[in-house]
Amino acid sequence: MVGEVFRGFVRGIVLYAHFAAMNWRRITVSPVDFIIGFTAVFIQECLGLTTIVFVMRQLPSVRGWTFWEIVLIYGFFTTARSLWHVFMINGMDLSAYIRLGRLDRFLTRPLDPLFQIYADGWDEDGWGELILGAALLFTAAINLQVNWWVRAPLLIINLVAGALVYAAIILAASSLSFWTVENDALMSLLGTLGTLGQYPLTIYGRSLQWVLSTLVPFAFVGFWPAQAFLPRTASALSYLTPLVAIALFYAAIRMFKAGLSCYQGTGT
């Protein structure tokens, strides 16, 4: 039993490596546009920062948060979301997979359809976001004198957990397209709602804090896991993020499977 799971796991990794090599070649096929798009997303991500850098920097604190603490939370959220953006964004396009009949092709292969969706391609434009997020995280940590070397493993675990939480929210909402087929507007709504997670949670009213921690838990993408690196405010929730991530992602997979079991295809 254990041997079987292990073999399945290894097979998954080997297969994913093949897909990954192909995906990398695909996104670098037109280098000029890749670089322009990369720059564009980089600038676009900087846009969200302008309020923080141009305005909040001049202030001693905003609702008790110092400039560098705000940058650390923003950088953490950006890095975690970019990991999702680069490697798992396909989960968002489920409605396109259904509409164009591409899901049917996956169903004929002896491989998990969800695995195939995620392995089907990487995103071109998430890379600028990843570099920006990492740079912010790094500068903020230096300025806050976070001891990197001791905390590096926890940082990586929490970042991956944050990315998984984001992926879980998107996959769960995306699975609705098994019933509704079309749901681009819902995805754009969630994307905007997600940006609320970029800022320290406590600037929002109490009810919104609850919504962002439970119903649409974007606070677990950046705010809570980032707390582990802010000794002043760390709480138990910061260390629980990996567990939350696994639970949420498992629930999202269940939802995907439930949708798949009543899937009939659109005839395309």
Binding site: S30, V32, D33, I36, A40, L47, T50, V55, L59
Partner: protein
């Protein structure tokens, strides 16, 4: 002319075909509004004036900006490069219409639809929920709307220019994204130019992009008084004409290049 009016009317109706989508756009827009309101209230928590803006002025500025952002739908650039990639453009060039005007008219129809059914509801709800101020005089309203319209024209011209640039890079997605990012940054759509560091502020004021958000919004919140507004409108008109000429030249050159491909 009648052709283009027809195109505007058609894309006006097309854009609102899916009612639930329009509703979700309003909700999405309002989430953005709420975020801005919360962030700026937090900024002003223990101070009354910052960068020459009072809290009410700043909150009004960023919220109305959110509504304006939803009002302009510029897809001409992407449509142009899509036609180029699929080869459909050869057919379009044979039609007795000006391609730039045709694509511009389509965007104008979409933008009108978005303004009426997304931005106006967003504005009205924000007005009630976040107590933003509205211009006191009808004159200010008129000048603001005129300045905003010139900003929309400017964005349409920039969108088409980005599409033409996309023909050179052979793809077009990247150039369009880059244009969006530059416009949003330098137009003061997110943060009023008054808060920019001095060097960037000077640069932003020298570039045409402030026409899209900063100039109309300064009129709206009363930072630009009515007598001061005339040179502002003149500046906007100047940039529109300059970009119109530039886009005509760029398009003529690109079209010649297109025929060299034998497309």
């Amino acid at each position: 002319m009648r052709t283009y009016v027809g195109v505007i009317a058609l894309s006006f109706r097309d854009y609102q075909a899916y009612r639930t989508n329009m509703l979700l756009r309003v909700v999405t827009g309002l989430i953005g509004v709420m975020l801005q309101a919360v962030v700026w209230s937090a900024i002003y928590a223990r101070r009354s004036v910052l960068g020459g803006f009072t809290m009410t002025e700043a909150v009004t500025y960023v919220i109305v900006s959110q509504a304006l952002m939803r009002a302009t739908v510029v897809r001409s650039g992407l449509e142009l490069t899509k036609k180029f990639r699929s080869g459909e453009i050869t057919k379009d060039l044979c039609l007795p219409v000006d391609l730039q005007a045709y694509l511009g008219a389509k965007d104008l129809g979409r933008s009108l639809s978005a303004s009426l059914f997304v931005s106006v509801p967003m504005f009205l709800i924000s007005w009630v929920a976040f107590r933003i101020t509205v211009p006191a005089s009808a004159g200010t309203w008129c000048v603001f709307l005129l300045a905003w319209l010139l900003g929309v024209v400017l964005q349409l011209l920039l969108g088409f220019l980005a599409g033409v640039a996309g023909i050179y890079t052979q793809y077009g997605w990247g150039t369009d994204k880059l244009k969006d990012a530059i416009v949003l940054f330098f137009s003061g759509a997110i943060v009023p130019l008054d808060f920019f560091p001095p060097g960037l502020e000077r640069l932003a004021r020298a570039l045409p992009f402030q026409s899209a958000y900063y100039l109309p919004l300064s009129i709206y919140v009363g930072k630009t008084s009515l007598p001061q507004a005339l040179p502002v409108l003149g500046l906007q008109a100047f940039w529109c004409i300059t970009l119109l000429l530039l886009s005509r030249v760029a398009w003529t050159i690109a079209r010649r290049r297109l025929s060299l491909f034998g497309g």
